[in-house]
């Protein structure tokens, strides 16, 4: 293995000296994993994710990752990372779009088994007709699987969020999986300037003794888990056991807020939050919105921006408070269904203020002019 100095996470995130590097989002994944002290990484190709896991494979060859292999499909890969996590090690994988849907049955079991898996989702449209282009529709499906969901705007976000995701996921009172989402191609395949710590430091290793559920390693008591399997029972105990477990997963997700606030500096960020019109969005729709905001403000319009960094847990109270002051909320999205607009409508007092537009999908870009059109329409 490569020699790296173990540092505490706060030092790595906030204090360590940073170097400026020009790289793609996929390379940013590599640089995050290089410092993440990952034990097992399992890969499977899908555009636009493949390159990120190629690069993680290179890290394995160099000795930064202890075990790595290519699985046979995403359902199997997500099952294999679950098996590795149950054995008590830190695991990483990545997928996107159709791969996410292929694996879908596994995601709720990650949360249900309290596995602190970190998975990067390089979002992409889903068939049919065939598409490989960016689209965030898979996030709509993942909202209620019990996983935490962070949404990167940039490669810098992607790098930082992956590293922070491990530390939040592995807190004893959280210990649920984290999905770090980045818009395929827009983030993965474009280069930007990043500021990242030197590669000679890494996170502390995962300690399975901090897990709220014992690892499956025969190092703790293997007493039979129950007198009758719940699935055999159609009675109150069965329902209560299942319901209380689901509530505990929800509660674990809620308990992550304090850590996410500390490490991400809040679940959302605002610019000009007292403006009449707020653009509220996540991912690369944020940069497009920022452009639109600048153009609108240059024309004398009162426009602000809310960047959501965390979708689960959802910053409901923060959005509700911001929405109360605004005359209109514009939610630009890279998907057809408008899942984010629905989420926002469901938590604010006056959902009629929400304009679920513009929406582009199937891989289309979102020119700031489309957002500007919506701003002009509501500012009339």
């Amino acid at each position: 293995m490569i020699e790296q100095k173990v540092v505490n996470p706060e030092f790595l995130f906030f204090t360590a000296e940073k170097k400026k590097l020009f790289m793609t989002g996929s390379e940013a994944v590599r640089e995050a994993i290089r410092k993440a002290n990952v034990d097992v990484a399992i890969s499977y190709p899908i555009t636009p994710q493949s390159e990120s896991m190629h690069l993680v494979g290179d890290l394995f060859a160099e000795g930064y990752v202890k075990e790595y292999f290519r699985g046979e499909n995403e359902f199997a890969v997500m099952s294999s990372v679950a098996g590795a996590a149950m054995a008590g090690v830190r695991v990483f994988t990545a997928t996107g779009g159709p791969g996410t849907l292929r694996a879908f049955e596994v995601f709720p079991t990650w949360a249900g088994a309290r596995l602190p898996i970190v998975c990067a989702f390089m979002t992409r449209g889903v068939n049919s007709p065939l598409t490989i282009q960016p689209d965030t529709i898979e996030m709509a499906y993942l909202l209620e699987t019990g996983i935490l969901m962070l949404h990167a705007e940039t490669a810098q976000d992607l790098h930082d969020m992956i590293l922070k995701a491990f530390i939040v996921a592995e807190k004893t009172d959280v210990h649920v999986p984290v999905g770090v989402f980045a818009d395929g191609f827009f983030v993965t395949h474009t280069k930007e300037a990043l500021e990242i710590p030197e590669p000679d430091i890494k996170l502390p290793s995962y300690d399975p003794n901090n897990s709220p559920v014992p690892p499956m390693d025969m190092e703790s008591v293997p007493v039979r888990q129950m007198r009758d399997p719940f699935v055999m029972k159609s009675n109150f105990i069965s329902y209560a056991a299942h319901a209380s477990w689901q509530q505990e997963v929800d509660a674990a997700r809620e308990r992550s807020r304090k850590y996410l606030e500390k490490y991400l500096g809040g679940l959302l960020e605002t610019e000009n939050e007292d403006a009449d019109v707020l653009l509220v969005t996540s991912g690369t729709a944020v940069c497009q919105s920022r452009e639109a905001m600048a153009a609108a403000r240059a024309q004398g319009l009162s426009v602000g921006l809310v960047k959501l960094k965390c979708i689960r847990p959802f910053p409901a109270q923060e959005i509700k408070a911001l929405a109360a002051k605004a005359k209109a909320i514009i939610v630009p999205e890279f998907n057809r269904v408008g899942w984010l607009a629905k989420e926002i409508k469901s938590v604010i007092d006056e959902p009629g203020k929400v304009i679920g537009a513009p929406r582009v999908y199937g891989g289309m870009t979102m020119p700031p002019e489309l957002i500007l059109d919506e701003i002009r329409r509501v500012s009339r």
Binding site: A76, G83, A84, V106, V231
Partner: protein, 286 residues
């Protein structure tokens, strides 16, 4: 038990469940017991909810009693009748989903190797015929292709028994079952041959009608999986409930099938696996 971690803290003996106290005092961990010791110690399997005469129950009981290293064995199961038993088995066991057992086991085994480089941790998959030969076949075979160091045991009751007796790939041609209302149209899948072709170092087909043979197969399979490569055992475990025979006829039915030549006990061992077993035997003699 052989590990301090399994011992009961002084003063807590009385509040522990009786079956747990029995396991601590008289369990099989680290004792090297086999099927001939059944009845003389507290077994890993506690009372289970399977039907009277269930072939699976017999196979599971014998397979668990044959494990060479129960103190460091983790079981990966799958959905089906057998998944109703494992929550009551005193080994760490995983039920993830239907069909993904060999994928889970692959990740588990590799991670255990990382965490315990100086210790043997056996990973044994025990799942039904639907889980192994139908819904999970790709992951079963891929784990063999990848030469994962795991043992796969199929409990073959020739049907999806837990969901009410539907046709599976392991049902015999002509069998009339749910979802095969006019009889199964194609032959029983030949998994032992598939396993051999897919890279298993050891393959056996047997049944609870031959406890000694079953024991030997499980021991060889687990030992070979540690050092040589993947291993596969298929245990014919007839289902009285769905095939509608009397509970006491399970073992006679297996023997009748053997007599008719419909079911045959099989064993394949690769040259490398045989050399490995020979080396173990040499070391034992010394």
């Amino acid at each position: 038990m052989n590990k301090p971690i399994f011992q009961i803290s002084p003063g807590f003996e009385e509040i522990m469940p009786p079956e747990y106290r029995e396991l601590v005092a008289n369990g099989p961990y680290g004792k090297g017991f086999g099927v001939s010791d059944l009845g003389s110690y507290k077994e890993l399997i506690e009372e289970h909810p399977l039907c009277a005469g269930c072939g699976l129950a017999l196979s599971i009981r014998l397979a668990l009693a044959s494990l060479p290293n129960p103190g460091d064995t983790v079981i990966v199961g799958s959905t089906g009748c057998s998944s109703l038993v494992f929550p009551q088995v005193a080994l760490h066991n995983i039920h993830s989903l239907f069909g993904n057992q060999n994928a889970v086991a692959s990740g588990l085994k590799r991670a255990l190797k990382l965490r315990f480089p100086d210790k043997v941790k056996d990973v044994v998959v025990i799942a039904g015929d639907g889980a192994t030969a139908d819904i999970g076949l790709d992951m079963v075979m891929q784990s063999w292709f990848r030469r994962e160091n795991i043992t796969t045991i199929m409990l073959d009751n020739e049907a999806y028994a837990n969901t009410g007796g539907q046709e599976s790939g392991m049902s015999r041609q002509g069998a009339v079952l749910n979802m095969a209302p006019t009889g199964k149209k194609f032959p029983k899948a030949t998994l032992p041959e598939v396993a051999q072709a897919a890279g298993c170092a050891y393959v056996a087909a047997t049944s609870p009608a031959h406890p000694r043979m079953l024991e030997k197969a499980v021991r060889k399979a687990v030992l070979i999986a540690r050092e040589v490569g993947p291993t596969y055992i298929q245990l014919f475990s007839p289902c009285p409930t769905n095939y509608k025979f009397k509970p006491q006829e399970t073992i006679p039915l297996i023997k009748q099938r053997e007599k008719e030549g419909i079911f045959r006990n099989q064993e394949y061992i690769s040259d490398e696996a045989q050399r490995f077993l020979d080396s173990l035997e040499e070391a034992r003699k010394k």
